[in-house]
Amino acid sequence: MTLVGVWIAALLTLAIGSLLWKQNPAFRLAEHILIGFTAGHLVVINYYNVVNTGIKPLLYDGRLLNIVPIIIGALFYMRFSKRFAWLTRIPLSFFFGISGAVGIIGALDASIRQQVAATVLPLVTSYSSPWGSFTFLDVNNAIIIAGTICTLTYFFMTKRHTGIIGGTARVGRYFIMITLGARFGAVVMSRMSLLYERLYFLLHDWLNILK
């Protein structure tokens, strides 16, 4: 990164960090710059994507079929016209139909069948030693099986949560709470890394205090 780049990045980092004290114009300026750059980047990337993969091959390589997705995509802009806004339903139907179907095909096997298969586990484990063979309850597997069943029961909404179902759902709720705790812990870990990286940048690249 050039010296100018380092200074811009450092000042923007401090501007964003200043929110920790209170809302201020420097923070809002940095926030707007970030949002503007992100949106601008997406527009440029998608513009070149349409030109390179759609329009250029149509005009120069004779790929006439490209006209079909280009017209379907262009129909999205009909929402700006009150008279023809209904035409946006056509690309939306394509979008939902195709992406939904492709997503479900893969998910059925990898995220449902194989994940269900991964919960079909032995509850007991055998261990052989010179003094004989021992059989233990496999605690890890028992937790996985119990956790899956109890959590699924919690989301079983068409039966009142009383009796055995109520007890199982309550255990499921505890499993969900533990999962959320694990996720929160992981998020804290990630945020600590972000803070570390920004502090390292300020001390190393900007102020040259760290070697």
Binding site: L20, W21, H41, L42, I45, N46, N49, N52, T53, K56, P57, I98, S99, V102, G103, G106, A107, D109, A110, S111, Q114, Q115, A117, A118, I144, T179, A182, R183, A186, V187, V188, M189, S190, R191, M192, S193, L194, L195, Y196, E197, R198, L199, Y200, L203, I209, L210
Partner: protein
């Protein structure tokens, strides 16, 4: 000064002190990182590897140290692996391009022959399906605008189903999961490795436990572990002290906050009873 300002000040001071002092705390290497490392080590020389750049720059703190160590492993000259990089989201390719070219130049690898960055194509699930048998299904040019026909590496690339290994740098669990759903279901022989930020790892863990994901490097700690395996110094190892103590500090604050809340609640209850 509000109480939260005191917390921010303590946290910032502690992390700056640890960055300067850097005592070098010890840490163990996770089995998932070892599996990741071994999978690359065992890949036959000359194999193609698909590298996914499925992250936004806001999560660079964890992803970049991972990329530095893992790309160096993948691009070692005697290993002779060839890399094709693609992205399902728009921000990753520009960072990937910088890293591939810098490490490639350092290790004497040639762009277009040993590695290529095809950049971003929209469609997510659908795009991955489109390139099952031919990358040209979604990519006409590489990230720099060179037509694929002018890149020798693409002559033998075929489609994603012909590639034995996918290494996905991701800041969302959906990145590796899409590769499992759209690619590994079609060809179970393909190994899927995930290099992911810590916040996104919990939903991916069941896939690692079931053996669908063949290895995972997780967060800054994963980067530090990989640097250790590679025998190199990097931002991962350097950040472990600050991250570990910062996390202990957050835990201490949560416990202290709950204890104080409990005391206040009891006092209020006492007043009501009295």
């Amino acid at each position: 000064m509000q109480p939260q300002h005191i917390i921010f000040l303590i946290l910032g001071t502690v992390m700056v002190a640890l960055l300067i002092w850097a005592p070098g705390m010890e840490y163990s290497i996770e089995e998932s990182t070892l599996s990741f490392y071994r999978a690359i080590d065992e890949l036959p020389a000359g194999s193609l590897v698909l590298v996914g750049a499925d992250f936004d720059v806001e999560n660079r703190a964890e992803i970049l140290p991972q990329m530095e160590a893992i790309l160096r492993h993948l691009m070692e000259p005697d290993r002779d692996l060839r890399i094709i990089s693609i992205s399902m989201w728009d921000q990753g390719p520009m960072v990937m391009d910088v890293f591939l070219r810098r490490i490639g130049d350092e290790l004497g690898r040639t762009y277009g022959v040993d590695y290529v960055n095809l950049g971003y194509a929209p469609g997510v699930h659908t795009m991955i399906r489109l390139i099952s048998h031919d990358f040209r299904g979604a990519f006409v040019r590489d990230f720099s605008g060179t037509p694929l026909d002018e890149l020798p590496i693409m002559d033998e690339a075929g489609g994603i189903l012909d590639i034995p290994m996918i290494v996905d740098f991701a800041d969302r669990e959906s990145g590796p999961i899409i590769y499992l759903e759209q690619v590994k279901t079609q060809n179970p022989q393909i190994k899927v490795l995930a290099s992911i930020n810590a916040a996104s790892f919990p939903p991916l863990e069941p896939y690692l436990q079931s053996g669908q994901v063949d290895g995972a490097v997780v967060g800054l700690k994963g980067a530090a572990e990989y640097e250790e395996l590679m025998g190199m110094e990097g931002l991962g190892k350097r950040g472990m002290d600050a991250q570990s103590v910062g996390q202990v500090l957050v835990m201490a604050l949560i416990i202290a906050g709950n204890v104080v809340a409990l005391i206040i609640a009891r006092r209020k209850k006492g007043r009501v009873v009295g």
